[in-house]
C-alpha cells in the first residue's frame, strides 16, 4: 500500500546531512549489517565499485583501485559523456573494521579530508562520514563556486550604482 514517494522519502530521511561548521559536513546513516561487512564494502574494490556510483548519476566507473592501508592510495576513473575524470587520494588512517581516513586530491587546490567511522550497535552499523575542508572558501567552492557568484553580484551592484547615479544627474 505504501506509495513509491513515501518509501523514497523514507530512504532519504534515513540519510542525514548536517553542515557542522564553515568547514565541515557530516553524513550519517544506519545500515542493517555488522561493521565488518560494511567495512568490506568500503575497502574491497570489487565490492566498492558496485555501490559508490549509483546508476542515477549517469557516470560510468571505468576503473577502481583501492590500496587500503596507511599511506596507500586510491584512484577512481569515471566517464561522463565524452570526458574522463579521475578521483584520487591517500589513506591516512586505516582501523578495521571501524575507521578510515583519506585525502581527496583531485582538484587544483587542497581538497577535503574524509573520515568515515563504522559503529556496530546490535547487529546494525551506524556510518558517520565527516568531511573537513581546508577552509570555508574551499567548501563554498565545492558547493558550486559561490564565491564566483558573489563576485558577479558585486559587479551588478556596482554597475547599478553607476547607472542610477548618472540617470539622476540627467
Amino acid at each position: 500500500m505504501d506509495g513509491k514517494t513515501e518509501s523514497e522519502t523514507a530512504a532519504q530521511s534515513r540519510t542525514k546531512v548536517e553542515r557542522k561548521s564553515d568547514r565541515e559536513l557530516v553524513v550519517t546513516r544506519v545500515v542493517d549489517a555488522p561493521a565488518r561487512i560494511v567495512y568490506d564494502a568500503w575497502t574491497k574494490a570489487e565490492i566498492f565499485r558496485q555501490w559508490w556510483v549509483p546508476k542515477s548519476f549517469g557516470l560510468t566507473l571505468l576503473s577502481c583501485e583501492l590500496d587500503v592501508r596507511v599511506g596507500g592510495g586510491y584512484r577512481l576513473v569515471f566517464r561522463h559523456g565524452d570526458s574522463e575524470m579521475a578521483f584520487f587520494g591517500r589513506y591516512l588512517e586505516v582501523v578495521p573494521p571501524s575507521r578510515i581516513v583519506w585525502t581527496n586530491e583531485e582538484g587544483e587546490d587542497e581538497g577535503p579530508v574524509t573520515t568515515v567511522t563504522f559503529e556496530e550497535q546490535g547487529g546494525k552499523t551506524l556510518i558517520v562520514l565527516h568531511e573537513l575542508y581546508p577552509s570555508k572558501e574551499s567548501l563554498e567552492a565545492a558547493s558550486g563556486d559561490k564565491s564566483g557568484m558573489d563576485e558577479t553580484f558585486a559587479q551588478l551592484d556596482e554597475l547599478l550604482a553607476g547607472s542610477a547615479n548618472s540617470g539622476d544627474r540627467s
Binding site: V31, P54, L129, S143, F153, A154, A161, A164
Partner: protein, 98 residues
C-alpha cells in the same frame, strides 16, 4: 552595497547618503536588486528597511539538498550490496566457519 547590508540592515535614506546617491536613484537600485532576490525590503511606518535577500541562503540549501541526494542514493545502493554479502556469508559460513 550588498556588503554593507551583510553587516547590517539599513533604510533607503541611509543607503542613499552612504553611497552619495539621490533617494530616487537608490530606490531604483534597490528595486532591481530586490527583483534579483539579492535584497528584500520591509516597510515599517514610513521607513523602508533593506536587508540581504534569501538568494544566498537558497544557493547553500540547494547544494546541501543535492549532496544529501547523492549520499542517500549511494547508501541505498550500499544497502543492496550489503544484503547480498549477508546472504553469501550465511551460505559460505555454514561451509567454512570453524
Amino acid at each position: 552595497m550588498l556588503e554593507q547590508l551583510g553587516r547590517s540592515d539599513a533604510s533607503i535614506t541611509t543607503l542613499a547618503e552612504k553611497f552619495h546617491m539621490t533617494l530616487t536613484g537608490m530606490k531604483k537600485h534597490v528595486a532591481i536588486l530586490e527583483q534579483a532576490g539579492l535584497v528584500r525590503t520591509e516597510k515599517v511606518g514610513r521607513v523602508r528597511t533593506c536587508k540581504l535577500g534569501a538568494r544566498r541562503l537558497e544557493q547553500e540549501t540547494a547544494w546541501l539538498d543535492s549532496y544529501h541526494q547523492l549520499w542517500a542514493a549511494r547508501f541505498d545502493e550500499l544497502d543492496k550490496v550489503v544484503e547480498q554479502l549477508k546472504r553469501e556469508e550465511k551460505v559460505n559460513g555454514r561451509k567454512n566457519r570453524e
